[in-house]
Protein backbone atom coordinates (compact mmCIF):
# COMPACT_ATOMS: atom_id res chain seq x y z
CA UNK A 1 0.00 0.00 0.00
CA UNK A 2 1.59 3.29 -1.01
CA UNK A 3 0.42 6.74 -0.06
CA UNK A 4 0.35 9.75 -2.34
CA UNK A 5 0.03 13.16 -0.72
CA UNK A 6 -1.31 16.01 -2.84
CA UNK A 7 1.01 18.95 -3.31
CA UNK A 8 -1.84 21.30 -4.20
CA UNK A 9 -4.19 20.74 -1.30
CA UNK A 10 -3.31 20.72 2.35
CA UNK A 11 -4.82 17.94 4.44
CA UNK A 12 -7.77 19.15 6.53
CA UNK A 13 -6.53 17.35 9.62
CA UNK A 14 -2.91 18.28 10.05
CA UNK A 15 -1.77 15.19 11.94
CA UNK A 16 -2.05 11.53 10.98
CA UNK A 17 -4.97 10.20 12.97
CA UNK A 18 -6.87 6.93 12.97
CA UNK A 19 -10.66 6.83 13.32
CA UNK A 20 -10.40 5.84 16.99
CA UNK A 21 -7.93 8.64 17.67
CA UNK A 22 -10.37 11.18 16.21
CA UNK A 23 -13.08 9.99 18.61
CA UNK A 24 -10.56 10.00 21.46
CA UNK A 25 -9.34 13.51 20.68
CA UNK A 26 -12.83 14.99 20.65
CA UNK A 27 -14.54 12.89 23.32
CA UNK A 28 -11.81 12.38 25.91
CA UNK A 29 -12.15 16.04 26.91
CA UNK A 30 -15.79 15.58 27.83
CA UNK A 31 -15.43 12.07 29.26
CA UNK A 32 -13.19 13.12 32.11
CA UNK A 33 -14.18 15.43 34.98
CA UNK A 34 -14.03 19.17 34.22
CA UNK A 35 -10.76 20.98 34.79
CA UNK A 36 -10.22 24.10 36.85
CA UNK A 37 -10.08 26.39 33.82
CA UNK A 38 -13.58 25.34 32.80
CA UNK A 39 -14.86 25.80 36.37
CA UNK A 40 -13.43 29.32 36.53
CA UNK A 41 -14.89 30.23 33.12
CA UNK A 42 -18.37 28.91 33.88
CA UNK A 43 -18.37 30.60 37.31
CA UNK A 44 -17.65 33.98 35.76
CA UNK A 45 -20.18 33.61 32.95
CA UNK A 46 -22.88 32.17 35.20
CA UNK A 47 -22.39 35.08 37.62
CA UNK A 48 -22.90 37.53 34.75
CA UNK A 49 -25.98 35.57 33.70
CA UNK A 50 -27.34 35.72 37.25
CA UNK A 51 -26.80 39.48 37.30
CA UNK A 52 -28.63 39.68 33.95
CA UNK A 53 -31.57 37.68 35.31
CA UNK A 54 -31.84 39.97 38.36
CA UNK A 55 -31.69 43.09 36.19
CA UNK A 56 -34.31 41.72 33.79
CA UNK A 57 -36.50 40.90 36.79
CA UNK A 58 -36.06 44.48 37.99
CA UNK A 59 -36.96 46.08 34.67
CA UNK A 60 -39.94 43.80 34.11
CA UNK A 61 -41.33 44.51 37.58
CA UNK A 62 -40.61 48.25 37.35
CA UNK A 63 -41.28 48.83 33.66
CA UNK A 64 -39.08 49.71 30.72
CA UNK A 65 -39.04 53.29 31.88
CA UNK A 66 -35.84 52.11 33.56
CA UNK A 67 -34.19 52.42 30.14
CA UNK A 68 -32.64 55.62 28.83
CA UNK A 69 -35.21 56.04 26.03
CA UNK A 70 -36.98 59.37 25.56
CA UNK A 71 -39.75 60.75 23.37
CA UNK A 72 -37.42 61.19 20.39
CA UNK A 73 -35.36 58.03 20.72
CA UNK A 74 -37.88 55.25 21.11
CA UNK A 75 -35.55 52.47 20.01
CA UNK A 76 -31.93 52.17 20.99
CA UNK A 77 -29.86 49.64 22.91
CA UNK A 78 -32.56 47.03 23.13
CA UNK A 79 -33.01 46.73 19.36
CA UNK A 80 -29.27 47.27 18.76
CA UNK A 81 -28.49 44.27 20.94
CA UNK A 82 -31.24 42.22 19.34
CA UNK A 83 -29.88 42.82 15.83
CA UNK A 84 -26.30 42.32 17.07
CA UNK A 85 -27.07 38.84 18.44
CA UNK A 86 -29.23 37.73 15.52
CA UNK A 87 -26.45 38.77 13.15
CA UNK A 88 -23.87 36.73 15.04
CA UNK A 89 -26.02 33.67 14.60
CA UNK A 90 -25.82 33.84 10.83
CA UNK A 91 -22.26 32.57 10.48
CA UNK A 92 -23.18 29.21 11.98
CA UNK A 93 -25.84 28.58 9.36
CA UNK A 94 -23.55 29.85 6.64
CA UNK A 95 -20.89 27.35 7.66
CA UNK A 96 -23.26 24.43 8.20
CA UNK A 97 -25.62 24.97 5.26
CA UNK A 98 -24.16 27.18 2.53
CA UNK A 99 -20.67 25.71 2.72
CA UNK A 100 -22.25 22.22 2.66
CA UNK A 101 -24.06 23.06 -0.57
CA UNK A 102 -20.81 24.41 -2.03
CA UNK A 103 -19.05 21.23 -0.85
CA UNK A 104 -16.43 23.15 1.13
CA UNK A 105 -14.97 20.28 3.09
CA UNK A 106 -13.03 22.47 5.52
CA UNK A 107 -16.32 23.27 7.22
CA UNK A 108 -16.46 19.83 8.87
CA UNK A 109 -14.31 20.62 11.89
CA UNK A 110 -15.86 23.98 12.66
CA UNK A 111 -19.55 23.54 11.84
CA UNK A 112 -20.68 21.95 15.11
CA UNK A 113 -19.34 24.74 17.32
CA UNK A 114 -20.50 27.41 14.88
CA UNK A 115 -24.03 25.98 14.80
CA UNK A 116 -24.13 25.85 18.59
CA UNK A 117 -23.09 29.49 18.56
CA UNK A 118 -25.98 30.24 16.17
CA UNK A 119 -28.59 28.67 18.40
CA UNK A 120 -27.24 30.35 21.53
CA UNK A 121 -26.94 33.75 19.83
CA UNK A 122 -30.55 33.55 18.62
CA UNK A 123 -31.63 32.81 22.21
CA UNK A 124 -29.73 35.90 23.37
CA UNK A 125 -31.42 37.91 20.63
CA UNK A 126 -34.86 36.57 21.49
CA UNK A 127 -34.85 37.88 25.05
CA UNK A 128 -34.63 41.53 23.89
CA UNK A 129 -37.97 41.83 22.05
CA UNK A 130 -39.59 39.81 24.82
CA UNK A 131 -38.37 42.27 27.51
CA UNK A 132 -39.29 45.15 25.22
CA UNK A 133 -42.92 44.00 25.27
CA UNK A 134 -43.00 45.13 28.90
CA UNK A 135 -45.32 42.26 29.79
CA UNK A 136 -43.28 39.20 28.80
CA UNK A 137 -45.89 36.83 30.25
CA UNK A 138 -48.06 37.82 27.28
CA UNK A 139 -45.33 37.01 24.73
CA UNK A 140 -47.50 34.29 23.21
CA UNK A 141 -49.80 37.02 21.88
CA UNK A 142 -47.44 37.38 18.93
CA UNK A 143 -48.56 34.02 17.57
CA UNK A 144 -51.88 33.55 15.78
CA UNK A 145 -54.10 31.30 17.85
CA UNK A 146 -57.86 31.38 18.47
CA UNK A 147 -58.27 33.55 21.55
CA UNK A 148 -60.96 35.08 23.75
CA UNK A 149 -60.02 38.54 22.48
CA UNK A 150 -61.19 37.21 19.10
CA UNK A 151 -58.37 39.18 17.47
CA UNK A 152 -55.86 38.06 14.90
CA UNK A 153 -52.49 39.56 14.01
CA UNK A 154 -51.58 42.25 11.54
CA UNK A 155 -49.80 40.26 8.84
CA UNK A 156 -48.70 43.49 7.13
CA UNK A 157 -46.30 44.38 9.96
CA UNK A 158 -42.58 43.58 9.56
CA UNK A 159 -42.38 43.12 13.33
CA UNK A 160 -44.74 40.19 12.95
CA UNK A 161 -42.68 38.83 10.04
CA UNK A 162 -39.77 38.96 12.45
CA UNK A 163 -41.62 36.73 14.91
CA UNK A 164 -42.10 34.09 12.22
CA UNK A 165 -38.60 34.50 10.80
CA UNK A 166 -36.75 34.27 14.13
CA UNK A 167 -38.82 31.43 15.55
CA UNK A 168 -38.54 29.40 12.32
CA UNK A 169 -34.81 30.13 12.17
CA UNK A 170 -34.31 29.03 15.75
CA UNK A 171 -36.29 25.83 15.47
CA UNK A 172 -34.89 24.76 12.08
CA UNK A 173 -31.30 25.51 13.20
CA UNK A 174 -31.83 23.56 16.41
CA UNK A 175 -33.20 20.54 14.52
CA UNK A 176 -30.40 20.67 11.93
CA UNK A 177 -27.85 20.79 14.75
CA UNK A 178 -29.45 17.88 16.59
CA UNK A 179 -29.62 15.74 13.45
CA UNK A 180 -25.90 16.39 12.99
CA UNK A 181 -25.26 15.35 16.60
CA UNK A 182 -27.00 11.94 16.44
CA UNK A 183 -24.09 9.86 15.01
CA UNK A 184 -21.69 11.43 17.53
CA UNK A 185 -24.09 10.84 20.42
CA UNK A 186 -24.22 7.18 19.32
CA UNK A 187 -20.42 7.12 19.40
CA UNK A 188 -20.55 8.51 22.95
CA UNK A 189 -23.20 5.92 23.86
CA UNK A 190 -21.02 3.05 22.71
CA UNK A 191 -18.06 4.41 24.68
CA UNK A 192 -20.02 5.23 27.85
CA UNK A 193 -18.66 3.62 31.00
CA UNK A 194 -21.46 4.18 33.53
CA UNK A 195 -24.99 2.74 33.14
CA UNK A 196 -26.67 6.11 33.72
CA UNK A 197 -24.63 7.78 30.98
CA UNK A 198 -25.35 4.88 28.66
CA UNK A 199 -29.08 5.09 29.40
CA UNK A 200 -29.30 8.83 28.71
CA UNK A 201 -27.19 8.59 25.57
CA UNK A 202 -29.25 5.64 24.30
CA UNK A 203 -32.35 7.80 24.47
CA UNK A 204 -30.85 10.91 22.89
CA UNK A 205 -29.01 9.02 20.14
CA UNK A 206 -32.37 7.53 19.05
CA UNK A 207 -31.00 4.03 18.59
CA UNK A 208 -28.53 5.06 15.88
CA UNK A 209 -26.67 1.98 14.62
CA UNK A 210 -24.56 3.37 11.77
CA UNK A 211 -26.63 1.45 9.23
CA UNK A 212 -25.77 2.32 5.65
CA UNK A 213 -29.46 2.42 4.75
CA UNK A 214 -29.85 5.17 7.35
CA UNK A 215 -26.66 6.99 6.33
CA UNK A 216 -27.95 7.00 2.77
CA UNK A 217 -31.13 8.86 3.81
CA UNK A 218 -29.24 10.90 6.40
CA UNK A 219 -26.97 12.46 3.80
CA UNK A 220 -29.97 13.41 1.68
CA UNK A 221 -31.70 14.84 4.75
CA UNK A 222 -28.67 17.02 5.54
CA UNK A 223 -28.61 18.25 1.96
CA UNK A 224 -32.32 19.08 2.08
CA UNK A 225 -31.99 20.87 5.41
CA UNK A 226 -29.01 22.81 4.07
CA UNK A 227 -31.06 23.74 1.01
CA UNK A 228 -33.87 24.99 3.25
CA UNK A 229 -31.60 26.73 5.76
CA UNK A 230 -29.76 28.69 3.07
CA UNK A 231 -32.69 30.84 1.88
CA UNK A 232 -33.95 30.86 5.48
CA UNK A 233 -30.83 32.54 6.84
CA UNK A 234 -30.95 35.14 4.08
CA UNK A 235 -34.64 35.74 4.79
CA UNK A 236 -34.08 36.23 8.51
CA UNK A 237 -31.77 39.21 8.29
CA UNK A 238 -33.70 40.52 5.30
CA UNK A 239 -36.80 40.63 7.47
CA UNK A 240 -34.86 42.12 10.39
CA UNK A 241 -33.72 44.88 8.04
CA UNK A 242 -37.33 45.43 6.97
CA UNK A 243 -38.17 46.37 10.57
CA UNK A 244 -36.33 49.54 9.59
CA UNK A 245 -36.61 49.71 5.81
CA UNK A 246 -40.43 49.63 5.68
CA UNK A 247 -40.63 52.69 7.94
CA UNK A 248 -40.32 56.20 6.55
CA UNK A 249 -37.52 57.40 8.86
CA UNK A 250 -34.66 58.93 6.83
CA UNK A 251 -31.63 56.69 7.27
CA UNK A 252 -33.83 53.59 7.60
CA UNK A 253 -36.04 53.83 4.52
CA UNK A 254 -33.57 52.30 2.05
CA UNK A 255 -33.88 49.51 -0.50
CA UNK A 256 -30.24 48.52 0.09
CA UNK A 257 -31.04 47.35 3.62
CA UNK A 258 -31.68 43.62 3.05
CA UNK A 259 -28.38 42.74 1.29
CA UNK A 260 -26.53 45.24 3.48
CA UNK A 261 -27.83 43.58 6.66
CA UNK A 262 -27.22 40.04 5.41
CA UNK A 263 -23.59 40.85 4.52
CA UNK A 264 -23.17 42.55 7.90
CA UNK A 265 -24.65 39.55 9.69
CA UNK A 266 -22.27 37.10 8.03
CA UNK A 267 -19.40 39.49 8.73
CA UNK A 268 -20.19 39.82 12.44
CA UNK A 269 -20.94 36.10 12.77
CA UNK A 270 -17.61 35.04 11.30
CA UNK A 271 -15.85 37.46 13.63
CA UNK A 272 -17.53 35.80 16.61
CA UNK A 273 -16.74 32.31 15.26
CA UNK A 274 -13.07 33.33 15.00
CA UNK A 275 -13.08 34.77 18.51
CA UNK A 276 -14.53 31.57 19.96
CA UNK A 277 -12.62 29.02 17.88
CA UNK A 278 -9.17 30.54 18.34
CA UNK A 279 -9.67 30.05 22.09
CA UNK A 280 -11.42 26.69 21.75
CA UNK A 281 -8.70 25.06 19.63
CA UNK A 282 -6.08 26.06 22.16
CA UNK A 283 -7.97 25.16 25.34
CA UNK A 284 -9.36 21.85 24.07
CA UNK A 285 -6.28 20.80 22.06
CA UNK A 286 -8.08 20.88 18.72
CA UNK A 287 -5.10 22.43 16.92
CA UNK A 288 -4.89 19.57 14.44
CA UNK A 289 -8.57 19.86 13.54
CA UNK A 290 -9.07 23.62 13.51
CA UNK A 291 -5.86 24.34 11.66
CA UNK A 292 -4.30 27.67 10.64
CA UNK A 293 -5.74 27.11 7.15
CA UNK A 294 -9.25 26.99 8.62
CA UNK A 295 -8.58 30.29 10.35
CA UNK A 296 -7.16 31.68 7.13
CA UNK A 297 -10.25 30.70 5.15
CA UNK A 298 -12.45 32.45 7.71
CA UNK A 299 -10.25 35.55 7.51
CA UNK A 300 -10.87 35.64 3.77
CA UNK A 301 -14.63 35.48 4.35
CA UNK A 302 -14.26 38.38 6.82
CA UNK A 303 -12.26 40.38 4.29
CA UNK A 304 -14.88 39.85 1.59
CA UNK A 305 -17.95 40.56 3.72
CA UNK A 306 -16.16 43.50 5.37
CA UNK A 307 -15.75 45.09 1.96
CA UNK A 308 -19.38 44.36 1.09
CA UNK A 309 -20.36 46.21 4.24
CA UNK A 310 -17.98 49.06 3.33
CA UNK A 311 -19.56 49.24 -0.12
CA UNK A 312 -22.98 49.50 1.52
CA UNK A 313 -21.80 52.41 3.70
CA UNK A 314 -20.59 54.21 0.59
CA UNK A 315 -23.73 53.44 -1.38
CA UNK A 316 -25.91 54.83 1.41
CA UNK A 317 -24.02 58.12 1.25
CA UNK A 318 -24.16 58.28 -2.52
CA UNK A 319 -27.90 57.57 -2.62
CA UNK A 320 -28.56 60.13 0.13
CA UNK A 321 -26.85 62.77 -2.02
CA UNK A 322 -28.33 61.49 -5.28
CA UNK A 323 -31.90 61.39 -3.91
CA UNK A 324 -31.84 65.16 -3.52
CA UNK A 325 -33.93 64.70 -0.37
CA UNK A 326 -32.77 67.24 2.22
CA UNK A 327 -33.74 65.08 5.22
CA UNK A 328 -31.92 62.09 3.80
CA UNK A 329 -28.81 64.20 3.15
CA UNK A 330 -28.97 65.70 6.61
CA UNK A 331 -29.19 62.30 8.34
CA UNK A 332 -26.05 61.04 6.64
CA UNK A 333 -24.00 64.19 7.13
CA UNK A 334 -25.15 64.16 10.74
CA UNK A 335 -24.04 60.54 11.13
CA UNK A 336 -20.53 61.28 9.92
CA UNK A 337 -20.05 64.75 11.40
CA UNK A 338 -22.76 65.20 14.04
CA UNK A 339 -22.70 64.45 17.76
CA UNK A 340 -22.49 60.71 17.13
CA UNK A 341 -19.56 61.00 14.69
CA UNK A 342 -17.37 59.13 17.18
CA UNK A 343 -19.68 56.10 16.93
CA UNK A 344 -19.81 56.33 13.14
CA UNK A 345 -16.04 56.47 12.71
CA UNK A 346 -15.52 53.68 15.27
CA UNK A 347 -17.78 51.59 13.05
CA UNK A 348 -15.97 52.51 9.82
CA UNK A 349 -12.50 51.93 11.26
CA UNK A 350 -13.41 48.58 12.87
CA UNK A 351 -15.43 47.19 9.96
CA UNK A 352 -13.82 48.61 6.84
CA UNK A 353 -10.24 49.68 7.54
CA UNK A 354 -8.94 47.17 10.10
CA UNK A 355 -10.07 44.01 8.19
CA UNK A 356 -8.02 45.23 5.20
CA UNK A 357 -5.01 43.84 7.07
CA UNK A 358 -6.29 40.41 6.03
CA UNK A 359 -4.88 41.03 2.55
CA UNK A 360 -1.53 40.08 4.09
CA UNK A 361 -0.90 36.36 4.46
CA UNK A 362 1.33 37.02 7.45
CA UNK A 363 -1.60 38.65 9.26
CA UNK A 364 -3.99 35.81 8.39
CA UNK A 365 -1.49 33.31 9.78
CA UNK A 366 -0.84 35.20 13.01
CA UNK A 367 -3.50 33.94 15.40
CA UNK A 368 -2.97 36.67 17.99
CA UNK A 369 -3.54 39.41 15.43
CA UNK A 370 -6.52 37.55 13.91
CA UNK A 371 -8.04 37.27 17.38
CA UNK A 372 -7.56 40.99 18.04
CA UNK A 373 -9.05 41.93 14.66
CA UNK A 374 -12.05 39.66 15.29
CA UNK A 375 -12.71 41.55 18.54
CA UNK A 376 -12.53 44.85 16.64
CA UNK A 377 -15.08 43.55 14.13
CA UNK A 378 -17.40 42.44 16.94
CA UNK A 379 -17.22 45.95 18.39
CA UNK A 380 -17.58 47.59 14.98
CA UNK A 381 -20.68 45.59 14.11
CA UNK A 382 -22.32 46.45 17.41
CA UNK A 383 -21.67 50.11 16.62
CA UNK A 384 -23.10 49.68 13.12
CA UNK A 385 -26.50 48.76 14.56
CA UNK A 386 -26.25 51.52 17.18
CA UNK A 387 -25.39 54.08 14.48
CA UNK A 388 -28.24 52.99 12.20
CA UNK A 389 -30.83 52.93 14.96
CA UNK A 390 -29.93 55.79 17.26
CA UNK A 391 -28.52 58.40 14.87
CA UNK A 392 -31.52 58.09 12.56
CA UNK A 393 -33.86 58.84 15.45
CA UNK A 394 -32.05 61.41 17.53
CA UNK A 395 -32.48 64.26 15.04
CA UNK A 396 -36.23 64.45 14.49
CA UNK A 397 -37.99 66.48 11.78
CA UNK A 398 -38.70 69.05 14.52
CA UNK A 399 -35.48 70.58 15.91
CA UNK A 400 -37.34 71.21 19.19
CA UNK A 401 -37.46 67.45 19.82
CA UNK A 402 -33.78 66.78 19.09
CA UNK A 403 -32.27 64.66 21.82
CA UNK A 404 -29.33 62.50 22.81
CA UNK A 405 -29.33 58.98 24.16
CA UNK A 406 -27.39 57.60 27.07
CA UNK A 407 -27.89 54.07 28.36
CA UNK A 408 -28.87 53.52 31.99
CA UNK A 409 -27.17 51.00 34.25
CA UNK A 410 -30.13 48.70 33.61
CA UNK A 411 -29.43 48.56 29.88
CA UNK A 412 -25.69 48.10 30.35
CA UNK A 413 -26.23 45.28 32.88
CA UNK A 414 -28.77 43.59 30.60
CA UNK A 415 -26.27 43.65 27.74
CA UNK A 416 -23.53 42.19 29.93
CA UNK A 417 -26.06 39.66 31.17
CA UNK A 418 -26.75 38.53 27.61
CA UNK A 419 -23.01 37.83 27.22
CA UNK A 420 -23.32 35.84 30.45
CA UNK A 421 -26.10 33.77 28.88
CA UNK A 422 -24.12 33.31 25.67
CA UNK A 423 -20.92 32.13 27.34
CA UNK A 424 -22.68 30.01 29.98
CA UNK A 425 -24.52 28.05 27.31
CA UNK A 426 -21.41 27.84 25.12
CA UNK A 427 -19.28 26.50 28.00
CA UNK A 428 -21.99 23.96 28.84
CA UNK A 429 -22.00 22.92 25.17
CA UNK A 430 -18.24 22.31 24.97
CA UNK A 431 -18.39 20.47 28.29
CA UNK A 432 -21.20 18.02 27.51
CA UNK A 433 -21.34 17.63 23.74
CA UNK A 434 -18.68 16.92 21.12
CA UNK A 435 -17.55 20.34 19.87
CA UNK A 436 -16.29 18.85 16.62
CA UNK A 437 -18.48 16.77 14.31
CA UNK A 438 -16.61 13.45 14.71
CA UNK A 439 -18.34 11.47 11.98
CA UNK A 440 -17.91 14.31 9.50
CA UNK A 441 -14.23 14.77 10.28
CA UNK A 442 -13.72 11.04 9.72
CA UNK A 443 -14.94 11.46 6.15
CA UNK A 444 -12.24 14.06 5.41
CA UNK A 445 -9.42 12.34 7.28
CA UNK A 446 -7.87 11.13 4.05
CA UNK A 447 -8.57 14.35 2.17
CA UNK A 448 -5.66 15.29 -0.11
CA UNK A 449 -4.15 11.88 0.53
CA UNK A 450 -4.73 8.97 -1.75
CA UNK A 451 -4.20 5.50 -0.46
CA UNK A 452 -3.50 3.00 -3.20
CA UNK A 453 -5.18 -0.35 -2.86
CA UNK A 454 -4.10 -3.27 -4.96
CA UNK A 455 -5.89 -6.51 -4.67
Amino acid sequence: MSEVVSKLRKPLVSKDRTYTEVSDDVLSVIEKPPGNLWKICISISASLLLMGIIVVGYQVSTGIGTWGLNKTIGWSWDITNFVFWVGIGHAGTLISAILLLFRQKWRTSINRAAEAMTIIAVMCAGIYPIIHMGRPWLAHWVFPYPNTRSLWLNFRSPLLWDVFAISTYFSVSAVFWYIGLIPDLANMRDRAKTPLKKRILTIVSLGWSGSHRTWHRYEMLCLILAGLATPLVVSVHTIVSMDFATSIIPGWHATIFPPYFVAGAVFSGFAMVLTLLIILRKVMNFEHYITPSHIEAMCKVLLCTGMLVGLAYGTEFFIAWYSGNQYERFVFLNRAFGPYAWAYWTMVVCNVFIPQLFWLKSVRNNLVIVFIISIFVNIGMWFERFVIITTSLHRDFLPSSWAMFSPTWVEICTFIGSFGLFFTLFFLFVRFLPAIAISEVKTVLNYAKHKDHHE
Binding site: T18, Y19, T20, S23, P144, L151, W152, N154, F155, R156, P158, W161, F164, A165, T168, S171, V172, V175, F176, I182, P183, A186, N187, R189, D190, T202, I203, V204, L206, G207, W208, S209, G210, S211, H212, R213, T214, W215, H216, R217, Y218, E219, M220, L221, I224, L225, L228, A229, P231, L232, S235, I239, M242, S439, E440, K442, T443, K451, H453, E455
Partner: protein, 172 residues
Protein backbone atom coordinates in the same frame (compact mmCIF):
# COMPACT_ATOMS: atom_id res chain seq x y z
CA UNK B 1 -38.69 -14.04 17.57
CA UNK B 2 -35.07 -13.07 17.31
CA UNK B 3 -33.22 -13.09 14.05
CA UNK B 4 -29.71 -14.37 13.49
CA UNK B 5 -27.10 -12.35 11.67
CA UNK B 6 -23.59 -13.16 10.56
CA UNK B 7 -21.30 -10.19 11.15
CA UNK B 8 -18.05 -9.53 9.37
CA UNK B 9 -16.09 -6.82 11.17
CA UNK B 10 -13.48 -4.86 9.19
CA UNK B 11 -10.89 -2.31 10.25
CA UNK B 12 -10.46 -0.81 6.81
CA UNK B 13 -13.32 0.50 4.72
CA UNK B 14 -11.66 -0.53 1.46
CA UNK B 15 -11.40 -4.16 2.58
CA UNK B 16 -15.05 -4.01 3.55
CA UNK B 17 -16.03 -2.62 0.14
CA UNK B 18 -14.11 -5.37 -1.63
CA UNK B 19 -15.79 -8.01 0.53
CA UNK B 20 -19.22 -6.53 -0.19
CA UNK B 21 -18.42 -6.62 -3.91
CA UNK B 22 -17.43 -10.29 -3.68
CA UNK B 23 -20.60 -11.20 -1.77
CA UNK B 24 -22.67 -9.41 -4.35
CA UNK B 25 -20.87 -11.33 -7.12
CA UNK B 26 -21.77 -14.58 -5.37
CA UNK B 27 -25.42 -13.43 -5.23
CA UNK B 28 -25.52 -13.32 -1.43
CA UNK B 29 -27.94 -10.73 -0.01
CA UNK B 30 -26.35 -8.26 2.37
CA UNK B 31 -28.72 -7.26 5.17
CA UNK B 32 -26.95 -4.00 5.95
CA UNK B 33 -23.53 -2.46 6.44
CA UNK B 34 -22.71 -0.51 9.60
CA UNK B 35 -20.10 2.26 9.39
CA UNK B 36 -18.92 5.12 11.62
CA UNK B 37 -19.38 7.62 8.79
CA UNK B 38 -21.12 7.57 5.39
CA UNK B 39 -19.10 5.40 3.02
CA UNK B 40 -19.96 6.08 -0.59
CA UNK B 41 -20.38 3.47 -3.30
CA UNK B 42 -22.21 0.88 -1.21
CA UNK B 43 -25.69 1.52 -2.58
CA UNK B 44 -25.26 -0.95 -5.44
CA UNK B 45 -24.30 -3.81 -3.09
CA UNK B 46 -27.28 -3.20 -0.82
CA UNK B 47 -29.66 -2.55 -3.73
CA UNK B 48 -30.79 0.75 -2.26
CA UNK B 49 -33.20 2.79 -4.32
CA UNK B 50 -32.89 6.59 -4.31
CA UNK B 51 -34.58 8.02 -1.22
CA UNK B 52 -37.95 9.70 -1.60
CA UNK B 53 -37.20 12.31 1.06
CA UNK B 54 -36.98 15.18 -1.48
CA UNK B 55 -40.54 14.38 -2.54
CA UNK B 56 -41.66 14.57 1.10
CA UNK B 57 -40.01 18.00 1.37
CA UNK B 58 -41.70 19.21 -1.80
CA UNK B 59 -45.15 18.13 -0.65
CA UNK B 60 -44.64 19.41 2.92
CA UNK B 61 -43.24 22.75 1.78
CA UNK B 62 -46.02 23.28 -0.75
CA UNK B 63 -48.63 22.42 1.90
CA UNK B 64 -47.07 24.97 4.26
CA UNK B 65 -47.03 27.63 1.54
CA UNK B 66 -50.67 27.12 0.58
CA UNK B 67 -51.89 26.93 4.19
CA UNK B 68 -49.96 30.07 5.18
CA UNK B 69 -51.34 32.09 2.27
CA UNK B 70 -54.91 30.87 2.78
CA UNK B 71 -54.74 31.53 6.51
CA UNK B 72 -53.41 35.07 6.10
CA UNK B 73 -56.07 35.79 3.48
CA UNK B 74 -58.83 34.39 5.69
CA UNK B 75 -57.67 36.38 8.73
CA UNK B 76 -57.10 39.66 6.90
CA UNK B 77 -59.97 39.63 4.42
CA UNK B 78 -62.74 37.33 5.67
CA UNK B 79 -62.67 36.81 9.44
CA UNK B 80 -61.71 40.25 10.74
CA UNK B 81 -60.71 42.81 8.11
CA UNK B 82 -58.93 45.80 9.64
CA UNK B 83 -57.98 48.96 7.78
CA UNK B 84 -54.25 49.41 8.39
CA UNK B 85 -53.01 52.68 6.92
CA UNK B 86 -55.40 52.39 3.97
CA UNK B 87 -53.72 49.25 2.69
CA UNK B 88 -55.90 46.75 0.84
CA UNK B 89 -57.32 43.95 2.99
CA UNK B 90 -55.72 41.44 0.65
CA UNK B 91 -52.17 42.83 0.93
CA UNK B 92 -50.75 39.88 -0.97
CA UNK B 93 -47.15 41.14 -1.15
CA UNK B 94 -47.07 41.62 2.63
CA UNK B 95 -48.14 38.00 3.13
CA UNK B 96 -45.08 36.61 1.32
CA UNK B 97 -42.52 36.74 4.19
CA UNK B 98 -44.68 34.74 6.61
CA UNK B 99 -45.70 32.34 3.83
CA UNK B 100 -42.02 31.75 3.04
CA UNK B 101 -41.11 31.07 6.67
CA UNK B 102 -43.99 28.59 7.06
CA UNK B 103 -42.91 26.84 3.85
CA UNK B 104 -39.44 26.31 5.29
CA UNK B 105 -40.80 25.32 8.72
CA UNK B 106 -43.15 22.68 7.30
CA UNK B 107 -40.56 21.44 4.81
CA UNK B 108 -37.84 21.02 7.45
CA UNK B 109 -39.90 19.53 10.26
CA UNK B 110 -41.97 17.10 8.22
CA UNK B 111 -38.88 15.89 6.33
CA UNK B 112 -37.01 15.31 9.60
CA UNK B 113 -40.03 13.49 11.03
CA UNK B 114 -40.33 11.33 7.90
CA UNK B 115 -36.63 10.52 8.09
CA UNK B 116 -36.83 9.50 11.75
CA UNK B 117 -39.87 7.31 11.17
CA UNK B 118 -38.53 5.67 8.02
CA UNK B 119 -35.16 4.95 9.64
CA UNK B 120 -36.83 3.80 12.90
CA UNK B 121 -34.89 6.35 14.92
CA UNK B 122 -37.09 6.44 17.99
CA UNK B 123 -35.77 7.23 21.50
CA UNK B 124 -36.88 3.96 23.11
CA UNK B 125 -35.84 1.74 20.24
CA UNK B 126 -32.27 0.54 20.29
CA UNK B 127 -32.61 -3.03 19.11
CA UNK B 128 -30.94 -2.44 15.77
CA UNK B 129 -27.46 -1.93 17.15
CA UNK B 130 -25.30 -4.68 15.68
CA UNK B 131 -21.82 -3.80 16.82
CA UNK B 132 -20.67 -1.17 19.31
CA UNK B 133 -17.55 -0.43 17.28
CA UNK B 134 -19.56 0.56 14.22
CA UNK B 135 -20.04 4.06 15.60
CA UNK B 136 -16.30 4.54 16.08
CA UNK B 137 -13.89 2.69 13.80
CA UNK B 138 -15.35 -0.63 12.64
CA UNK B 139 -17.02 -1.40 9.32
CA UNK B 140 -19.50 -4.22 9.80
CA UNK B 141 -21.19 -6.28 7.10
CA UNK B 142 -24.33 -8.01 8.39
CA UNK B 143 -25.88 -10.98 6.59
CA UNK B 144 -29.19 -12.49 7.61
CA UNK B 145 -28.86 -16.19 8.48
CA UNK B 146 -32.11 -17.38 6.98
CA UNK B 147 -32.27 -21.11 6.50
CA UNK B 148 -30.24 -24.20 5.66
CA UNK B 149 -29.33 -22.80 2.25
CA UNK B 150 -27.17 -20.18 3.98
CA UNK B 151 -23.65 -21.57 3.75
CA UNK B 152 -22.22 -20.24 6.99
CA UNK B 153 -18.81 -21.86 6.62
CA UNK B 154 -17.92 -20.66 3.16
CA UNK B 155 -19.27 -17.15 3.68
CA UNK B 156 -17.33 -16.79 6.93
CA UNK B 157 -14.26 -17.89 5.02
CA UNK B 158 -14.88 -15.32 2.29
CA UNK B 159 -15.22 -12.55 4.89
CA UNK B 160 -12.02 -13.67 6.55
CA UNK B 161 -10.19 -13.80 3.24
CA UNK B 162 -11.06 -10.18 2.56
CA UNK B 163 -9.60 -9.03 5.84
CA UNK B 164 -12.42 -9.29 8.39
CA UNK B 165 -10.80 -9.22 11.81
CA UNK B 166 -13.76 -10.83 13.48
CA UNK B 167 -16.60 -13.02 12.16
CA UNK B 168 -19.41 -13.71 14.59
CA UNK B 169 -23.08 -14.53 14.92
CA UNK B 170 -25.39 -12.02 16.53
CA UNK B 171 -29.00 -12.54 17.50
CA UNK B 172 -31.15 -9.42 17.49
Amino acid sequence: MSKKYLLGVFHDEHDMIHAAKELKKNKIDIHDIYTPFPVHGLDQYLEIRPTRLPLVTLIAGTTGLVLALLFQYWVSVIDWPINVGGKPFNSFAAFIPVAFEITVLFGAFITVFAFLMRSKLIPIFSGGIMHAGATQDKFVIALAVKDASFDLQSISKTLGAFGASEVSIKEV
